[in-house]
């Protein structure tokens, strides 16, 4: 998208100004790089303007300035406590999902019986609206972090299972035959061939799932929590403090984006070959 705009800009600018200097090109390159930031700033500006021009009250749509003000009105320690609580639950549920989903996917991909018996069950779990069963999970698992981690796990693990299975199944049949013709064990085949082949699939699922993990943690915190950004949003709206709730939403979105980037970096760092050639 970005590169397209630039090339369009350049190709239209170049014939008109053959003497286009290096300096101008540099400016254009910077504009290209800053484009997403500028776009975001523009949206915020328009948002602020609308709120002011129409004198929208905070309970309808808080202005960006009202959100920022309410965010800074609170002790940073409070933000840290809630963000940390949500992060812990998200990462806990996410880790649990990875630990369970990947071995499960290996089982499903390598056993027709297992995939025939377990897949329908997994689909049932996935089709169950977690928000609906969350209160039951909380009653069953009691107070503390476990029910929240479990709810996050439930929301997170299915995409990882499905994507990993697809990845494992994408292993070329020839390589499985090669492995068999070498007399190598199934375990070696899974470890040396199937799992590496699934890496790109696993990572695309991991990127989706990390954002789902945040959503899962927030859903769980809506249902039962004494801390966390989900709790904080419920708490703020219960006092009709809408700007404060928006500020928490922004923290959540930022957290989501950051974690998404972290997963992408981990992939680039550990498995550069699993990325398309041009994005390495």
């Amino acid at each position: 998208m970005n590169s397209q705009t630039t090339s369009a800009a350049r190709s239209s600018a170049a014939p008109l100004q053959p003497e286009l200097t290096k300096r101008k090109l540099l400016v254009l390159a910077w504009l290209d790089r800053l484009a997403p930031v500028l776009a975001a700033l523009a949206v915020i500006g328009v948002w602020e303007l609308i709120c002011r021009v129409f004198a929208l009250p905070n309970y309808l749509l808080p202005s960006p300035s009202a959100i920022v003000t309410s965010a800074f009105a609170l002790d940073p320690g409070i933000w840290l406590t809630h963000t940390w609580a949500t992060l812990r639950v998200s990462l806990g549920g996410y880790a649990l999902a990875i630990i369970i989903a990947i071995p499960l996917a290996v089982l499903l991909a390598n056993s027709r019986l297992m995939s025939r018996t377990l897949y329908p069950m997994l689909v049932v779990i996935q089709s169950t609206p977690i928000v609906g069963v969350a209160p039951i999970i909380v009653v069953l698992m009691g107070a503390g972090e476990m029910p929240r981690i479990f709810i996050t796990f439930l929301i997170t693990f299915f995409p990882i299972v499905v994507s990993t299975v697809t990845g494992l199944m994408s292993t070329p049949e020839e390589l499985k035959e090669l492995s068999r013709s070498l007399g190598a064990s199934k375990a070696r085949e899974i470890r040396n061939i199937q799992l590496p082949f699934a890496v790109p699939y696993i990572f695309s699922a991991l990127r989706i799932s990390i954002t789902l993990a945040i959503i899962g943690a927030v859903v769980a915190e809506f249902v039962a929590a004494e801390k966390g950004l989900g709790f904080f949003i419920a708490f703020s709206t219960s006092f009709l403090r809408i700007p404060q709730a928006f500020a928490a939403l922004i923290v959540l979105v930022t957290l989501s984006l950051l974690l998404f980037q972290v997963i992408a970096l981990v992939q680039r760092w550990l498995f550069p070959w699993s990325l398309p050639k041009e994005s390495r």
Binding site: T81, V138, V139, A143, A224, F235, F239, L240
Partner: protein, 331 residues
């Protein structure tokens, strides 16, 4: 023989160890509030902050519930030990299934339900709601009482357009004039007033208790398991809570500060105002006559009657006195 002796001495040792730990370690209770932290829940925090529970040898862990029925379920499931919840929710649950939870102390001897209206609303009395649009929280317990209250005042419930929504949307909807009024608890007046202020309006209220809704509301609940296993602990906890409640009534600001110590994002002024708004439910003619915390049989019967009517249950489906345990209230 030697083995037996060994076993006996081990047993004795174990007993000794158990008794010493019991003497030194505080009893722990998991206390569940019926909603997110707010000013009207401040008494329990005040009890903890003032050391009333510590003096009774109790360590308290406070958990937030999402409604009275959740408190009842969690207590029954053993996921919490004591807590606060509406007596009607407990009566309803007990009438429908075996729920091993009892009310050990009353907090509100009047019902907190009311209508919050913008200043100068054409709704001057309950009868004026005909043809109007009212907002209510989707899962509010008030929703079940509402039609009964209207019928007992000869108003057709179908004549009111009741819109259900998230509790957080009620204030904005009222301020934006999308609804003519909202169904709430008395404790929500301060935060609604805050939002309405932004719209340049003030709030008015119509109390349901003025139109015949009477009975016990918020009460201290305990799991029967705890009552049976350690009645002494329930008694001590109830005593500590009563002290805290009395002090909170006397000094709502102190209670609000105690709440803030636990929930740092709380606004002390607002929390104090919320608790103050709930005082008439705690201290009133009824409590003056019977004492705070008691369950007066006639009012208890009325509480049950409202529940039975709203849930279409037979009046003999439950003996309301079986839902309460009055041993723990100091006379």
């Amino acid at each position: 023989m030697a083995l037996r002796l060994f076993k006996h001495s081990l047993f004795a040792l174990g007993l000794l160890a158990a008794s010493t730990t019991a003497a030194f370690a505080a009893d722990k209770i998991r206390w569940m509030n019926d909603w997110l932290p707010s000013g009207d829940k401040a008494a329990i925090y005040l009890g903890v902050e003032q050391g009333f529970f510590a003096e009774e040898g109790i360590e308290v862990e406070i958990i937030n519930g999402r409604g009275s029925s959740e408190v009842v379920t969690r207590l029954a499931a053993g996921a919490a030990d004591m807590g606060t919840g509406g007596l009607p929710a407990l009566l309803q649950a007990k009438a429908e299934q075996t729920i091993n939870v009892s009310a050990v102390m009353s907090i509100y001897s009047m019902q907190p339900d009311l209508l919050i209206l913008p200043e100068g609303s054409p709704i001057r009395s309950l009868a004026d709601v005909e043809g109007k649009t009212l907002g209510t929280a989707t899962f509010s317990a008030s929703n079940v009482i509402w039609p009964i209250l209207l019928r007992s005042n000869d108003i057709d419930p179908d004549s009111v357009n009741l819109v259900r929504m998230d509790p957080g949307a009620l204030g904005p909807m009222l301020a934006a004039g999308r609804v003519d009024g909202t169904i709430n608890w008395i404790t929500k007046i301060p935060s609604f007033a805050e939002v309405m202020q932004e719209a340049g309006k003030d709030v008015e209220v119509i109390l349901w208790s003025d139109y015949g809704l009477d009975g016990y509301g918020l009460s201290v609940l305990a799991s029967d398991r705890l009552i049976q296993r350690n009645p002494d602990l329930v008694e001590r906890a109830t005593r500590a809570y009563s002290r805290a409640l009395a002090l909170a009534v006397e000094n709502p600001r102190l209670a609000a500060e105690a709440l803030k110590a636990h929930v740092p994002e709380m606004d002390v002024e607002l929390a104090a105002a919320e608790f103050e708004a709930s005082i008439p439910l705690i201290v009133n003619d009824i409590s003056d006559a019977n004492g705070i915390g008691t369950f007066e049989p006639e009012l208890l019967a009325k509480t049950w009657e409202w529940v039975a009517r709203s849930q279409e249950l037979a009046l003999d489906a439950l003996d309301p006195t079986s839902a309460i345990d009055t041993r723990f209230i100091a006379d």
